[in-house]
Amino acid sequence: MRSGLINRAVIVAVFLLLLSFGAGQRATGQWATPSVSSASSIPQAQLIQPEELNRLLKTRGVEKPLILQVGSHVLFAEAHIPGSEYAGPGSQDAGLAALHDRVAPLPRKGFIVIYCGCCPWNRCPNVGPAYKSLLDMGFKNVKVLYLANNFGADWANKGFPVETGR
């Protein structure tokens, strides 16, 4: 009888273990909260699509954002949105410091758009930390350009204007 109880206890323990493992797998795979520094943590409402930003930049009489590229300087030099400035990389302390220094003197209600485009959105190590840094500094009007694949595929190769140079 004792061995029967022990067997049942083992079965229950294994069941509970498997249950917790499965829940952990689901949590990491599907319902996990994105890391605060990942691009996926940026609220949808704060994203701006390439078409929308391009339209905004071409429209006269509307407020134009300060556009900051917070990714790779090499890729910025190769091609960037006309009028944008380099202020990165967001994944490194030195890059966040550069971003901080650029925006620190600005009014906190100013319209800022940041972007990267180094790699697929959910792999970008730069926009998440840069966005958070701006929020922490008190900026209220920050949008992040949503580049699903990269700057080439989602901006340059779609015919939107680019500039080169550092």
Binding site: S72, E78, C118, C119, N150, G152, A153, N157, V162, T164
Partner: protein, 165 residues
């Protein structure tokens, strides 16, 4: 190659958009030649690899998919090197010290040099990473892969090119 080179030259400081469609035009054209200093200070000359199949990979230390691919490329260098494969990595980092650390950590066994915007433009605009070109033994670009790619599809083409003339 001449077309890609001219486009690349025109891109420098010009703000022109025309060149960014050139990435597609490199297919079946001569791969733009270049010389760079590799991370050991030696000259890396793409022309020296004529007669080999070259896997030319643009990467960076902050590029997560790149960090997953590169050990696989190192394995291919070991496996297919005797059959004529040469992997060449171009780091698009700003700081070579970061690239050196990655190379050491990943134990990469192939040539690595630092890239820049000029080399990216020469290759039609490398505006996302990873970007990989397969160049046949005659120096012609036969495939291009951008972003996260099913590595088995790259490997199949590597093998096909290595087995080919």
């Amino acid at each position: 190659m001449l077309l890609a080179g001219l486009v690349g030259a025109c891109l420098a400081g010009s703000g022109s958009h025309a060149g960014f469609a050139a990435a597609q035009t490199l297919l079946n054209r001569k791969a733009p030649e270049f010389k760079r200093r590799d991370l050991n200070g030696q000259t890396l000359d793409l022309a020296r690899y004529r007669g080999k199949v070259v896997l030319l990979n643009f990467w960076a230390t902050w590029c997560a998919p790149c960090q997953l691919e590169m050990p696989v490329f190192a394995a291919w260098q070991r496996q297919y090197g005797p059959r004529g494969l040469q992997v060449v990595g171009i780091s698009m980092d700003d700081d070579p010290a970061l690239a050196r650390r990655s190379v050491a950590r990943l134990q990469l066994n192939y040539e690595i040099a630092m890239g820049d915007e000029r080399l990216g433009a020469l290759y039609g605009g490398v505006m996302g990473l990873p970007t990989t070109f397969l160049i046949d033994r005659n120096g012609v670009v036969r495939a291009q892969f951008q972003g996260e790619t099913d590595l088995s599809s790259i490997e199949k083409q590597v093998v096909a090119l290595a087995n080919g003339p």
